[in-house]
């Protein structure tokens, strides 16, 4: 009997101990096909999907002077038409659009194309990048075994992190003024640690501090970046895109010389060699559908597109409702007479680019064209992709021009602006015959800049008599009188070049400009002053509820609008109406 009992105990002990020893191993089996980031290749592959998928284009654009309320009484697009004011009774694509247009906090939606969507999408991307950085630390044994691949990946990761925070600070905070003044403006949380719980808290610090961190990541990223890991470089922070990004950050920080240096690394210093690198309009000749135009504009093989960022966005459809680029906004951007296109009522390159819409309701450019990925063809359901051409050679050229103006290099700026304009005439022979033949469209010259962009006239919508308002942002910011036409020219070209990308808002903010919106049939005027708290877009309500510091003071609450709203549906059918 004792024997039996002993055996039993032994058996049970063996059974138990063997399981105790192995039970954690037994339970360490992953529940499914998930991947553990263990190798350099995996870390690099994780970066491929670590780009933000939200588009700040639409809601930022809605706040700018590029968009009008068609329901307000407004003048027609064309100056050639009878100047009869008109208004419509249209619905917006959602209440969130009314809120953004009225400069109110966007509370009605946190889906794509809203500040709320941007906020979480960008921080999710930042977290994913932080996961990569953590994995690189692990794989490289805390940096002791860095390979060129790993350090290039580290560079890419830091650049994405820097870029995401750069966009966030430009959207949700006031623009950078100078290190002292910007210490008083609320920044955004700069996240460098992996999130591993749902209720972490973060501090927003200030704009100066945020930019310091952006710059630190940017500079370390630049030091490490290389194209060796990329098979499809245009969907990554390739070296050119990295320099273009650096140029933009330095430009926004008023570090003009560094901005020029970074731009030079991409564009070179010989503008004669530059033209082939800029956008080629010829392939647009064959396009008729929106997706065809989008394909050409978002072509990865085009040098001009330095990087393409895939976003889930229906910005094109949203531009077809109540708030459109109609009336004087469209006129200011491309529907007026200019010496460069004397014989045409509007900018011919804009028309060749695939302008969709009508004079009655307004336009949207082909470069924001949507690409539709079906999940169900019969029901027409799927994902609407909009590929952001986040950095282009053309925009970089304008950024270099702006930096040169601020450095006092007006000749250099002039050359960049003329090269930019020459590239907008980069048509096919067929199109050239229509628009350029018989001096219908002429190349921009330094004289024309000094003549046409000299000051504000009734038909020249983008010019200022002076740029004194820059002083609001920074008392040391001085544009001498001789440079004013060049800044006016930059302002105009940038407004066109960045049309519907949302970057106009960044320019309005960083230049300290003021503008207003007219809302509704009563033409309620809503003005944005130079240091308006509403220029720092409010973060989503859920984030505030979770304890995050709001962008705007609590006293700034406005009444909810009660206008008619209609939701947009992601159905391909909608596209056929255009």
């Amino acid at each position: 009997m004792r024997m039996t009992r002993g055996l039993l105990c032994a058996a049970f002990f063996i059974l138990q101990s063997s399981f105790f020893v192995s039970c954690n191993d037994f339970l360490d089996k992953e529940p499914d096909d998930r991947v553990e980031i263990k190798t350099a290749e995996q870390a690099i592959m994780l970066l491929t999907a670590s780009y933000p998928d939200a588009n700040y284009g639409w809601f930022c654009e809605l706040m700018t002077d590029n968009i009008i309320d068609l329901n307000s009484v407004h003048l027609p697009v064309s100056s050639d038409a009878a100047q009869n004011p008109t208004h419509y009774n249209l619905g917006s694509s959602g209440r969130q659009d009314d809120e953004a247009f009225r400069f109110e906090p966007v509370k009605s939606s946190t889906s794509s194309d809203t500040p709320g969507g941007l906020w979480s999408s960008f921080y999710i991307t930042i977290n994913s990048v932080n996961e990569v950085l953590e994995a690189i630390e692990r794989i490289s044994d805390n940096g002791r075994q860095m390979t060129p691949q790993l350090s290039a990946a580290k560079g890419e990761a830091l650049l994405i992190r820097s870029y995401c925070h750069f966009i966030l600070v430009n959207v949700f905070s006031q623009a950078y003024k100078n290190d002292e003044m910007s210490k008083n403006d609320i920044g955004i949380p700069y996240v460098t640690e992996v999130i591993n719980t749902v209720d972490d808290t973060y501090s927003r610090s200030n704009v100066t501090d945020t930019y310091k961190k952006i710059l630190a990541d940017l500079e370390e990223g630049l030091a490490n970046i290389s194209d060796i890991n990329y098979e499809k470089p245009k969907y990554h922070f390739n070296t050119n895109a990295a320099h273009a990004f650096a140029c933009r950050v330095y430009l926004f920080l008023h570090q003009w010389q560094k901005a020029v240096e970074q731009a030079d690394l991409v564009l070179g210093t010989d503008n004669a060699q530059l033209l082939p690198k800029l956008f080629d309009y010829a392939p647009l000749d064959d396009c008729s559908y929106l997706s065809d135009f989008a394909n050409v504009w978002q072509e990865p093989d085009d040098f001009n597109n330095l990087i393409l960022i895939d976003t889930y966005s229906t910005i094109f459809r949203k531009s077809r409702y109540r708030y459109e680029q109609g009336g004087l906004a469209a006129r200011a951007i491309y529907y007026h007479n200019a010496p460069m296109w004397r014989r045409w009522v509007g900018n011919p390159s804009a028309f060749v680019s695939g302008l969709f819409g009508s004079r009655d309701y307004g336009f949207a450019p082909g470069w924001i064209g949507e690409q539709f990925q079906y999940t169900d063809k019969v029901a027409g359901i799927g994902y609407a992709h909009t590929f952001r051409r986040e950095f282009t050679a053309m925009e970089l050229l304008l950024e270099r021009a702006e930096a040169k103006i601020n450095l006092g290099d007006l000749a250099g700026a002039s050359e960049d602006l003329c090269t930019y304009h020459a590239s907008t005439m980069n048509f096919s022979d067929k199109t050239r015959d229509i628009y350029v033949a018989n001096n219908g469209m002429t190349a921009l010259t330094d004289e024309m800049i000094n003549d046409w962009f000299a000051k504000n006239t009734t038909s020249n919508y983008n010019c200022f008599d002076d740029w004194e308002f820059l002083k609001r942002m920074n008392p040391d910011w001085n544009i001498p009188e001789a440079a004013v036409p060049y800044m006016n020219c930059v302002n105009y070209f940038r407004r066109y070049e960045t049309n519907f990308t949302g970057k106009r808002l960044f320019d309005l903010k960083r230049w300290g400009m003021e503008w207003s919106h007219e809302y509704g049939v009563d033409n309620e005027v809503i003005t944005m002053t130079w240091n308006d708290p509403r220029k720092a877009i409010e973060i989503p309500q859920d984030a505030i509820a979770a304890g995050m510091e709001p962008s705007q003071p609590a006293s700034l609450t406005t009444n909810d609008s009660t206008s008619i709203t209609k939701p947009a549906s992601f159905s391909i059918d909608d596209l056929r109406y255009y």
Binding site: R5, C23, P31, T48, S50, T197, D200, Y374, A379, H385
Partner: protein, 1107 residues
Amino acid sequence: MKKRLAMLLVGFFLSLGAALAQNHISGTVFEDNGEPCIGATVMIQGTKQGTKTDVNGKFSISVPSGKKIVISYIGMVTQTLTPKNGMKVTLKTDAHTVDEVVVTGIQKMDKRLFTGATTKIDAEQTKLDGVADVTRALEGRAAGVSVQNVSSTFGTAPKIRVRGATSIYGSSSPLWVVDGVIMEDAVNVDADDLSSGDATTLISNAIAGLNADDIESFQVLKDGSATSIYGARAMSGVVVITTKKGRAGHSSINYTGEFTYRLKPSYSDYNISNSQEQMGIYKEMEAKGWLEFSQVANASSAALYGKMYGLMDTYNPTKGDFELHYTDADIARYMQEAEYRNTDWFDLLFNNNIMQTHSISVSSGTDRSSMYASLSAMVDPGWTKDSKVQRYTANINASYKLSKNLTATLRTNGSYRDQTAPGTLNQSTDVVSGAVSRSFDINPFSYALNTSRTLDPYQMYTRNYAPFSIFHELDNNYIDINVMDLKFQGELEWKPLRGLSVNVLGSYRVNRSARDHSITDSSNQAEAYRAGVDNPNIMYSNPYLYSDPDKPNSLPISVMPSGGIFIENLNQVKQLDFRGTINYNHVWSVNDVETHIFSALAGMEANRADYDAREHQDYGVNYNMNRIVTITPDFYKQAKEEGTELTSFSRSWNRRLAYFGNVNYSYKGRYSTNFTARYDGSNQLGKSRQSRWLPTWNVSASWNAHEEPFFKRWAENTNQAFSHATLRLSYSLVGEQTAASNAKPIFRSTNMWRPQGDQQELALYQSSLGNKDLTYEKKHEFNVGVDLGFLDNRINVVTDAYWRDNFDLMGYYYGQIIGRQYANVASMKSHGVEATISSANIKTKDFQWNTDLTFAYNYTEITDLLSVSRVIDLVSSSGYAREGYPHRALFSFQFQGLNDEGIPQVINESGDVTTSDIYFQEYERLDHLKYEGPTEPTYTGGLNNMFRYKNWRLNVFITYSFGNKLRLDPVFAASYSDMSAMPKEFKNRWVQPGDEKLTDIPAIASVRQNNKDYYLSYAYNAYNYSTARVADGGFIRMKDISLTYDFNPQFISKIGLTTASLKLDATNLFLIYADKKLNGQDPEFVNSGGVATPLSKQFTFTVRLGI
């Protein structure tokens, strides 16, 4: 005399407390069928002395005075008796006394010691003949178990809830345990997916491979005390199924044959317009600008009108003329034919046939071994077209006593199913509007319900720009399902010491389901890939044609110019289970009274389940040409550009470890206490070692008042008027694994979609952020139970009340920088009462009348949930989670009558009465919605009456369910096609101004009205989701009426049978009560198309024979 004297003496000595004398007694032991019991053991209690019965069942033994004798026999209930010379003892078979034992799947417990809430269901008495799926037999049988037959197609699981929902977003479905082994689902199908009608629902039922005739009993474990032995898997209740075993001393062969005839559904049960009424509607549609030649002729789908225009366009060379002229006379003739057609789609799409089930079993046993083996075949030619099922099962259960204290049991279950279903694709959800749709749906039931009766069933009409006829499509677009389920199980029981037993159980199960979806060359779905390729009116509209993005302005081409499609799906689960337990029972008797009853159990369990799911699609399969595949390179180019996944694999692994134990103590069977603890570990939370373990526990107690001396005296005095009373109390913590597994961050691979096929990149992405606080969903439950017996237990009442606190439930959390995250932040409360009343109303030799009534009430309320509930979610038919309301609450727009154009009006989010100014995505202002009620019933139960007169037995079984609201089918729209069938309500529709005062049925909107208001469909959608379109979900169903005749044993023994019976069942005959507004819509059924079918009215004839 002498004996009597001896007895007196015994009594005398006993009374003195001295046991000195020896009494020699003899007796006979019988089995309950009257046969002598050979080889039964007769022991003197508390000693090792004893004897065995001889071939005549006789024994003789000398018993010391005052000692009792214990008579036992394998398979029989052991009896302890006071010896008496010439005694005749009848042993009862174990099966008849299972009530005294509670089977939890891990242990068997003396019912006196059991403190939890449980219901035992005898399979034989509750089996629904003609219903091959055993899970459905639970409906109305156990208080607190609700069974909703969302679809009755074989293989689909009904929605089963034990005491209501326990989780907000989880499945809340109970754990199924068969012979001690947890049956893992072959696919993870959550509560919503069960009613989706998708093909995966056909393999959602984990125990569809069980033959109903093999089942001995169900034990439903309801409260935390009963389920706590399953710890972190038990939150939603446990259903333990015990299959039949061989019995010692018995050998029999049984045959059961079931023959089932199902009635075709009839238009008289549904309110669908007949063809005359439909024609009237078409005429109005025509007058309102729909059905114009230009609009209909090239539309994606065309029926009556489209066909007519097509005929006008078709030249018939043999006739030398067009098929139809564009003349009033020809049109009138064509329309008149349609008007009088009255096609009976139900008659054409449903079959008249007999479903057969044959089952044969062999059972035998000796004192050393017992065996049960069975074979069954279920052959169903199909109620509807394309719904054949054949299922074969085999089951062997053998038990062998290796030595005095070692018993081995071997079990093998196998089943194979061969099934056909109409070809169906999965439902897809519009990510923005939440609208659910299904491409190429050919479900016969929903087709019959939704298709105009004016159509000629033998004509080809148009769907997806391609020719379509439902019969042709069902013949050419179908799914073959093969399911194989095998389980091998071995158990060892070792009893080294008295009262101590060591059990080891090992089991391996594999369930493999293959679904082959054949879409042949001539099917509509295949033809859609080439429809209109040469027709400039269609080519740009047909989404299945392909325009090469690299060639701007190129003409759309077909990427599948010939052949059809073949989609292959495989789902497999391989399950390995091991369990070891040590059980110790001991009873300390004081003065020969069982005073201290003690039992303890300790054990460990390890489970692994490996899941494998694969899908593979072949395009361009030429079905008539040896299935050779012809495909164009453009196909792959398009597939690449559109991100089409032609092949997918997904595997998952489940690993669980648990250590558990329980201790029971009872004082004299009066006061019992129980403590159970379990420690569960799982791999489902990823590699996080801190999140993966969960301890669970239960404390409970019971008081068996009827064991108290005062009660016994009282019961005796009142002639057992009040014969039984037990009070049970329990408090417990149990848990459930969540679907989330992101304790550590989760990374997966993906193809980065890019419009240029050559720019796509393989990538990894973070599919979930890490959450180190992730844990199990948990439930505290307090249960009070009172069991009462009256009139010598002829009336038994079992009642339970419970309060549940579900916490750490998964819900949404909004963080500071990351929007919505799924974490353990929600909670829910519920409470309820249950009662089961069983009564033997009349009990005479020839006539018996028994009544069983079950009743359950359950109320849930979500107490903590940060969730965005959009209007569209709250008003849609399945209801939605919202804080402060029951789990899955239904809301409605407030209908405000029709306007003077016949357009429905509701109150919108701004509080205004409107037609189409409605924002379905609104989530802040929700006060304009009216709360209707829960979508899940709060009251459920059943009533069974059994009458027996001599050999006749009549059973009448009613089920009921109340307290929920249902959304009526969304039949109204801003525009209709010439294919739609309209319900009869349309008769009362708004036709002219002024009608709005008389009717609530909206007008058929004209083309002009649609053009005037681009959002008119919002008005009609809101109407579909309004207070006007809600019905009470309560119903009383005449579930089953059966009449059985048992043949006299003497009579049938002449032809060599021992038992024989005939039975006629009428199942799902009618609804005794249902809201009139439902108009034939089955309150249980969710008409989602795909493979879903409602319950059928059926008659089953059953023959049972035993040798």
